[in-house]
């Protein structure tokens, strides 16, 4: 993969965000991300096919038929194949693995992979309805007004009960603090302007209150409502050459996993993300590496508890010890294994259908030294990056292993 591009993640937190004023629509985001990639690869002529990932433009923006927006990016994309993929918040990841399969199938040498969501078109209480469609609609009636926070609140509640409230909250507060501190280093991040003096203390002090939100999570445990798009190219070695991109400016996809759980069944264990565990191990296995060779991870922290559970799913900590692992700072940017180095879904933002692509762009930036102020040190003995992108409550998961080019 090469030539990644992120728009800013617009929403609460950004100084330029004003919910009362008109904002750019989906056309703007698709175009900016698409053109941002094309400028780095010698133009649209070098693209064979495109994939666009999006979750709910049909409701957030009343717009379907999204592959039709690809030729709008550049006339050079006209009359070329394009496809839209959807797998809830894993739509971006599906955009990537679809592109990877196209390259592996040798139907394309260069695939333009995009992902986006423009969510600030409705108030949060209605956005919750739209996002709830990532669950089984037959469960919507009995669910919480804020459906997904409700689902993950149940997971957090189960974790508190099993492993202790205070201990878990410390891990969750640290997760939030890491997200904010990392986001402050990336100018495109939604929490880039966040100036809270002590994010850890703020998060630790705030207590979950079911009367105002959900029982076991605070708003700081939640990812952002975001408008953003990301793009990157997936290519073969021939494709890379055609685009005139040096290998050192690209990352190699050395393995990936893709798994789906039955959406109509409840998770067997609320304190475990089994699909994430399955897909991430599949990715590591297909890459022929172990987690201790990975230098950085971008995981799907739609809620802080999901970050902690992903740490456990990756085998970095035993069950029930993920919160401690995080609380000890091991996932921080200077920690044992830096996670979500530009803020993740809580700090950078969560444009649902775009998140998977954003994760790949971040890994590409880190492994090629293009992460600016957010750059971490990638040592030679751990040259790999890993992404985990989740749709719904651990239903659809894609996971990709990248290596420095």
């Amino acid at each position: 993969m090469a030539a990644g591009y992120n728009t800013i993640s617009l929403g609460t937190g950004r100084k330029e965000f004003n919910p009362r004023k008109p904002r750019p629509g989906i056309e703007h985001y698709i175009k900016e991300a698409g053109q941002g990639v094309l400028e780095q690869i010698g133009g649209a002529k070098n693209v064979d096919e495109s994939v666009i990932g999006n979750f709910m433009a049909g409701r957030f923006n009343k717009q379907g038929h999204l592959d039709g927006f690809i030729p709008m990016i550049d006339k050079g994309l006209s009359m070329k194949p394009a496809v839209r993929v959807e797998g809830a918040c894993a739509s971006g990841g599906l955009s990537l693995v679809t592109g990877i399969r196209q390259v592996l199938a040798e139907t394309a040498e260069v695939v333009l992979s995009l992902g986006f969501e423009v969510q600030n078109t409705v108030k949060a209480i209605y956005g919750a309805d739209i996002l709830a469609m990532a669950g089984w609609f037959k469960n919507r009636k009995k669910g919480h007004a804020y459906f997904f926070p409700g689902q993950f609140s149940d997971r957090a509640g189960a974790y508190y009960e099993k492993y202790g409230f205070d201990r878990t909250r410390k891990g969750m507060a640290r997760w939030y603090a890491n997200a904010i501190e990392n986001a402050r280093l990336d100018p495109t991040a939604q929490e880039y302007h966040n100036a809270t003096p002590d994010p850890y203390a703020t998060a630790l002090k705030m207590q979950p209150n079911g009367k105002f939100f959900v029982d076991h999570l605070t708003v700081l445990d939640c990812s952002k409502v975001s408008d953003a798009a990301s793009g990157i190219t997936i290519c073969s070695e021939e494709g890379l050459e055609r685009m005139g991109i040096d290998k050192k400016d690209a990352v190699e996809v050395v393995g990936f996993g893709h798994a789906v759980r039955d959406i109509t069944s409840d998770p067997t264990d609320l304190t475990e993300l089994e699909t994430i565990k399955y897909a991430a191990h599949q990715a590591l296995e297909s890459a022929g590496i172990t987690i201790d060779q990975v230098g950085t991870v971008e995981t799907h922290d739609c809620f802080s508890i999901a970050g902690i559970l992903a740490v456990e799913a990756l085998g970095l900590a035993a069950k029930g010890e993920g919160a401690d692992y995080v609380a000890e700072g091991k996932t921080g940017r200077d920690g044992e294994l830096p996670f979500n180095t530009t803020g993740g879904l809580i700090g950078w933002g969560h444009p649902t259908g775009g998140t998977g692509v954003h994760q790949a762009v971040t890994i590409w930036q880190q492994l090629t030294g293009k992460a600016g102020d957010a750059q971490i040190n990638i040592s030679d003995d751990r040259p790999y990056g890993l992404t985990i992108n989740m749709g719904g409550d651990d239903v659809t998961v894609t996971s990709i292993v990248f290596k420095r080019g």
Binding site: I125, D129, H144, A145
Partner: protein, 445 residues
């Protein structure tokens, strides 16, 4: 008749007005919530006003406001509608709730609609004769044991009771503007008010999450009793300042407005507040109150002049401020009315000179907003006003005098038995006028 039964048939008179629409909104939502919990009962709320146009506007206002309220209690609504299998998403549930609330409200122009009501809220003009006429008519034609809740902010309740021959079925239930937001309600009972009416009023206020302050039945009650005199003092101070310093009155108005906002640390200056209430409303209330006081003259020639010149303040239906003593741009005052030339003079034309005359304000001052979450308010105000006392500037001198006058007004409300105690006066000014400290304090001694 139980609390619930009393609320099954209600009318709001003057429902499309500034206060009436807020009262209607709160009552409609409360009745809708009761009806959702008592599904076998029918609830009806008549919104009575004089024009169909205003009532159409009222229904638009209701639709928007009920949505906002519903969005804040979606969890509760999901529980209430748990048995409605057709209502799944928040979208569906909130829409259904809005429809439900609106379906309780019957907008009408005929006062006869209230003949079947058990409870009547009144928020028509501050016109005693009109209030008495409406109450008499409804009372005579109503076969229920109808109770009247008047929102009057100035007319003594016992006079309404006597003149409309209501036999103690009336109580003053005075909301503050805007009723949907302000938590204060002044409750005014008379010697004749039935205890069951009083009990209901307390229960109703509690359901609406309002803070009740009882006021005795003297024209103006506590809120206007303080504000009207405070406003008169502001106008007198401006006239005095203009005469003593030989400056134009408009400049003095600017200076007093600045002192009352910045030195007294209030949400807005006194002239801006008079504009907010409305110059016309203020004059009207003073006219209602004045005949009932013997030891002072509640009247202002300056107000009369403003009215003659047609400069009235008040608000547009959108809630935006109309020009009055001050002219507003995007809600902020930018110019002041010159009664001699009958034109606005921009602050910029004289601000520098006026501010220099007032002198430096002690550096320990903070804006009103910063005091809202202050934990050590008493300590802060004690220190700041001590600093001000030791400041020899014109601004400090006028501010100290103003603070003392404000306290004297508050104390007189207690000694005249309008308020039962100093705490009630302070609560009204804190919650109804959002002052940062009550007028009865020791800061200005």
């Amino acid at each position: 008749m139980t609390y619930n039964e009393r609320l099954q048939n209600v009318a709001v008179l003057g429902a499309a007005g500034k206060m009436g629409s807020g009262i209607l909104l709160l009552t409609a939502v409360h009745m809708a919530d009761l009806s959702l919990q008592n599904k076998d009962k029918t609830y009806v709320l008549y919104a009575v006003d004089v024009s169909d146009k205003a009532l159409t506007g009222l229904m638009d206002y209701l639709r928007v406001q009920v949505r906002k309220l519903a969005e804040k209690k979606t969890n509760w609504l999901r529980e209430i509608y748990a048995d409605r299998e057709d209502l799944i998403e928040n979208f569906d549930i909130i829409d259904e709730y809005i429809f439900h609330v609106l379906s309780i409200v019957r907008p009408v122009t005929a006062v006869e609609a209230a003949y079947g009501s058990s409870l009547v809220f009144e928020a028509v003009n501050e016109n005693r004769a009109l209030k008495v006429k409406l109450f008499t008519q409804i009372h005579e034609n109503n076969k229920n044991d109808v109770w009247f809740f008047t929102n009057t902010s100035s007319v003594p309740i016992h006079l309404i009771d006597e003149e409309a021959n209501l036999g103690g079925s009336v109580i003053g239930f005075h909301f503050y503007n805007p009723p949907a937001v302000q938590r204060l309600v002044e409750l005014i009972k008379t010697d004749n008010t039935k205890q069951e009416v009083v009990d209901f009023a307390y229960d109703f206020a509690k359901s609406l999450k309002k803070i009740i302050v009882p006021s005795n039945d003297f024209a103006g009650f506590i809120g206007n009793g303080h504000f009207m005199r405070d406003g008169l003092h502001g106008m007198k101070e401006a006239e005095k300042l203009a005469a003593e310093k030989n400056i134009p009155l408009y400049q003095a108005i600017y200076m007093i407005n600045k002192i009352t906002q910045e030195y007294l640390i209030r949400p807005m200056g006194i002239f801006q507040l008079m504009d907010y209430v409305g110059v016309d409303v203020m004059q009207f209330i003073l006219n209602v109150m004045n005949p009932f006081v013997s030891d002072e003259e509640l009247h202002s020639d300056l107000l009369d002049k403003m009215m003659e010149q047609g400069v009235k303040g008040g608000q547009f239906s959108s809630g935006a401020q109309k020009d009055g003593f001050l002219k507003y741009e995007k809600g902020k005052p930018v110019a002041v009315w010159d009664v001699d030339k009958q034109a606005y003079v921009a602050f910029d034309d004289f601000k520098a000179a006026a501010d220099t005359m007032l002198g430096e304000i002690p550096s320990t001052v903070v804006p009103w907003k910063a005091t809202l979450r202050m934990k050590n308010k008493e300590e802060f105000f004690g220190k700041f006003y001590n600093d001000l006392k030791n400041t020899e500037t014109l601004g400090a001198e006028i501010a100290m005098r103003y603070g003392k006058r404000s306290k004297a007004i508050g104390e007189k409300l207690v000694s005249d038995n309008v308020a039962n105690n100093a705490d009630d006066v302070n609560t009204v000014m804190l919650t109804g006028f959002y002052h940062a400290y009550g007028p009865i304090n020791n800061y200005f001694e």
